[in-house]
């Protein structure tokens, strides 16, 4: 993957968030149970919130401060892949989401280390951290909801 400019990177990131939101919106529509559909609608809204954050960076207003390394509970690495189906539950929804965030994180980290331009390296790193933060939100929720007795 080649990027001409920081703006191109940000455009790419915006597109990825939009795609993710669309993916969740489609899933929400295909769910049999309304309470599961609502979960995916929430996930879609979270992706749109990310898009908004990226747009803020694009308009040059730094509202997005890089932070210390995000903790990794490694839940996403242990659980098996989820194949989406119309009768899945909250547990499967969370697994699906945390794995998607992990994949996005790995992609940005790879792009970061492949970049020769320092500003671009930093930007990819920043994007990666944001995905990691989102992954952690799903992992913590999973930990709370599905690992209480474990």
């Amino acid at each position: 993957m080649q990027f001409e400019s920081l703006v191109a990177v940000l455009e790419f990131a915006v597109r990825k968030e939009e795609e993710a939101a669309e993916f969740y919106t489609d899933l929400a529509r295909s769910m049999v149970q309304p309470h599961i559909a609502r979960i995916f609608e929430e996930f879609a809204a979270e992706e749109m919130e990310h898009k908004r954050k990226i747009l803020i960076v694009m308009t040059g207003r730094p509202g997005w401060i890089p932070q210390a390394r995000i903790k990794d509970l490694h839940v996403a690495d242990i659980v098996e892949d989820v194949v989406p189906s119309s009768d899945m539950g909250y547990q499967q929804a969370l697994i699906l989401a945390m794995k998607a965030e992990k994949a996005a994180y790995l992609l940005y980290m790879e792009l970061s280390s492949a970049s020769e331009d320092d500003a671009m390296k930093d930007l990819f790193y920043l994007l990666a951290q944001e995905e990691a933060r989102h992954r952690l939100r799903f992992e913590v929720e999973y930990d709370e909801q599905f690992s209480g007795e474990n």
Partner: protein, 284 residues
């Protein structure tokens, strides 16, 4: 307690049981099952419902005598009672106007397939039925099918009726039929379901199977009935029992079905005398 209205061997080793269960008879749909216990100490086993009479409040099931519970059931006389019948469980068959459907029933599956054929017919489908058994003397309900469906074909292992062989010969039947089939549905033992699904996979015809894993409560609580379908674990009792035959992990299902093969027959071989002897030894 639930009253046995009629009980008889329908063909060798295969039994038909009609039970008084008005609330179940009122609700049951094609493709659903019941769970019953044959006696107070008995195991809970799932059986497909093969017919019902809503007015009389009865349900009918056909099963093969293979383990201790089915053996006990097969010995029950009309007029006797069993302690548990619960249902209707599982989701009803997906019945729509598909066009032409090919329904395949192997051994006891010939029974549970019947309500599906009836419902498919009611929805205006062209219904073709293939029944399969080891030999022609193991077929039953042929007369009922004949008046109901558009075509009735046979496969026997020994060639005594219809095509010789087993369900693997379905592609030949499809070729000979020379008409488009929009959906295949199979009822029968796990082997039959698997072979049938294998046979239609390459033909690209959607194939629905009625799975029969081990169950206990049948309401999604115990999870013993889990099967892998399309790479995900499903609970057959509440998410099935019908699944896409091309997506089922058959090796896993066959293994899980065998978990208690040895134990299934132990109660049959245990004499009560021996037990009493043990008890008196403990006392003395």
């Amino acid at each position: 307690m639930y009253k046995i209205i009629a009980s008889r061997m329908i063909v060798p080793n295969m039994h038909i049981l009609t039970i008084e269960a008005p609330v179940i008879a009122r609700q049951v749909q094609a493709g659903q099952f019941i769970i019953l216990r044959a006696e107070e100490e008995g195991e809970r086993i799932p059986l497909s419902v093969s017919d019902w009479d809503r007015a009389r409040g009865t349900i009918t099931t056909i099963f093969m005598n293979i383990g201790s519970t089915t053996s006990r059931l097969s010995q029950l006389a009309s007029g006797s009672f069993i302690p548990t019948v619960v249902g209707p469980l599982g989701n009803a068959s997906e019945i729509e106007h598909f066009g032409t459907v090919l329904l395949i029933g192997g051994c006891y599956g010939i029974g549970s397939l019947y309500p599906v054929a009836r419902a498919m017919k009611e929805k205006g489908n062209r219904v073709l039925v293939v029944i399969e058994a080891r030999s022609s003397y193991l077929f039953f309900w042929e007369d009922r099918y004949r008046v109901l469906v558009d075509k009735l074909l046979h496969i026997t292992r020994d060639g005594s009726k219809g095509l010789k062989g087993h369900i693997g010969r379905i592609p030949e039947i499809l070729t000979a039929l020379d008409e488009p089939v929009h959906r295949v549905l199979i009822n029968g033992c796990t082997f039959c379901l698997k072979r049938g699904s294998d046979a239609t996979r390459e033909l690209g015809i959607k194939t629905v199977v009625d799975l029969n894993p081990i169950m206990i409560d049948g309401t999604g609580m115990c999870g013993v009935c889990r099967v892998s379908v399309g790479g995900m674990t499903k609970f057959a009792c509440v998410q099935g029992p019908e699944f896409d035959g091309h997506e089922v992990d058959w090796a896993e299902l066959a293994q899980r079905r065998k978990s208690y093969m040895a134990e299934e027959v132990i109660p049959l071989r245990t004499s009560k005398c021996e037990e009493h002897a043990h008890q008196s030894e403990e006392v003395s």
